[in-house]
């Protein structure tokens, strides 16, 4: 592996101080499951990071909190902890599902949600669920806090708007509304230890047999993660049915092509994202649809 220096940050303040001084030359490591592979792929002689900053000792940005309306997940919280958290299972079960599909146990035990968010992979498992939860990203730098809608931090695949002197400290989102149901479906090349080929997170609120709220957030579909409002609007005020969900799936497909254009993978992705969306909506709506 290429040479670099390793610095340990014992507190957020210490980490921010360090980034403020040397931010441009630094790579942050937490779970390491993405970064260790990236570092390994840098050839000798190629330029790598001068310093790797280990933030794993910073306990203040780890763990899950619920203040009764908003749930805050510290950036260093590993996927295993999220998928088994009673708070997440009750108020954001689609995020628990999404986190349970990341890699294998060995990855979920150390890989953090902050890493999954900030790595910016279009195939990130937790991101579509977070976008469906209308999550915000919280950044800290020496000059203060910055909060952004999570979906807005993505500039293009593998690139976010995080500054050299910032650390993502948390993601936070409102609890799902009373009576909401949700679903997350991941399609990988095999069940275990696979990167998402495509995935989708949905939330539905159905009152008196009528859909009053719908959120559809597909992954690996558009250049940056987003809810597909054209598909969501189709559902509002309607009675749930297989046919309606099929049309919503179709609308997601159409929006994918509008935003990403026709690419080599389109003949595969076009019917697949439509089917995944329809299936996820059916799951969320429950029996009888």
């Amino acid at each position: 592996m290429i040479p670099f220096n390793l610095e340990r940050a014992e507190s957020l303040e210490q980490a921010l101080e360090f980034l403020d001084r040397d931010g441009t030359e630094v790579k942050i490591i937490a779970g390491g499951t993405d970064l260790m592979v990236e570092l390994r792929e840098i050839s000798p002689g190629e330029k790598g990071p001068g310093t790797v900053l280990d933030i794993t000792p910073i306990d203040e940005i780890r763990g899950i909190k619920d203040d009764g309306s908003t749930i805050t997940v510290g950036a260093l919280t590993p996927h295993r902890e999220i998928s088994s958290s009673p708070i997440i299972l009750q108020y954001a079960p689609l995020l628990a599902s999404a986190c349970s599909t990341v890699g294998a146990a060995q990855h979920r035990n150390i890989a953090t949600i902050g890493g999954n968010v900030i790595n910016g992979s279009p195939a990130a498992d937790s991101v579509p669920a977070l976008v469906a939860l209308n999550a915000e990203a919280v950044f800290q730098s020496k000059s203060g806090e910055r909060v952004s809608l999570l979906k807005d931090i993505y500039l293009k695949p593998y690139q976010t708007d995080i500054k050299d002197d910032e650390i993502l400290t948390a993601v936070r989102f409102p609890r799902l509304p009373e009576g909401a149901t949700s679903s997350y479906i991941k399609l990988g090349r095999r069940n275990a230890l696979a990167i998402s080929r495509m995935n989708v997170a949905v939330v539905l609120v159905i009152k008196d047999g009528e859909i009053t709220e719908a959120r559809i957030s597909p992954g690996s579909t558009t250049p940056t993660p987003d809810r597909i409002t054209t598909a969501e609007e189709l559902l509002i005020g309607k009675e749930p049915s297989e046919e309606l969900f099929r049309r919503a799936g179709q609308a997601v497909s159409e929006e994918m092509i509008n935003r990403s254009g026709r690419r080599w993978s389109t003949p595969y992705k076009e019917p697949v994202i439509a089917a995944l969306t329809a299936r996820a909506l059916g799951e969320a709506a429950g029996e009888g649809v």
Partner: protein, 162 residues
């Protein structure tokens, strides 16, 4: 590269070492401590041959910098092997024909051990889930799942601890 001082506990034994900052936990175990039971397969966290237990949880030692393990506890295959003979899990792997070339076995045993430490009575699905990050290219997984199930069911009882 500035050398780092590292305090680490491996298989119950405390070590204080001077290490290179780009050393992986896997290299520390194999090269510095000569614990060669931990294997390197893919080196990118896909195969699970390098699985060890870090503070009670199974992890891939190829994806962790040794320098990130300050003050932490590691268990390797050497640490689950009693002075005399084998642990029940190890014996069960032999009895159930779950070992062929043996390369994946240390990682399999540690994934199984981490599972049983947290969940002593797993279902078959939970066993399969726990070892889904460990690839075996010889025996197939059925015998391995049976070997773990036998220990969980108490059918494979041995002297010593799990």
């Amino acid at each position: 590269m500035k050398k780092l001082k590292l305090n680490i506990t491996v298989n119950g034994q405390k070590h204080t070492l001077k290490i290179d900052p780009n050393l992986r936990l896997l290299d520390l175990l194999r090269e510095n401590l000569h614990l060669t039971g931990t294997k390197e397969g893919c080196g990118i966290g896909e195969c699970g041959a390098c699985t060890v237990i870090l503070d009670g949880r199974a992890v891939n030692s190829c994806l962790i910098l040794a320098g990130q393990c300050e003050g932490r506890e590691i268990t390797t295959i050497e640490g689950v092997t009693p002075e005399d003979g084998l642990s029940p899990l190890q014996q069960s792997f032999l009895d159930n024909g779950a070992v062929q070339c043996g390369f994946c076995t240390p990682g399999m045993i540690l994934s199984a051990r981490a599972l049983l430490d947290h969940n002593p009575t797993p279902t078959e699905a939970e066993i399969r889930e726990a070892i889904s990050g460990n690839l075996c290219r010889c025996t197939g997984y059925t015998q391995i799942v049976e070997a773990i199930q036998a220990v969980a069911d108490g059918r494979e009882e041995q002297q010593g601890s799990l």
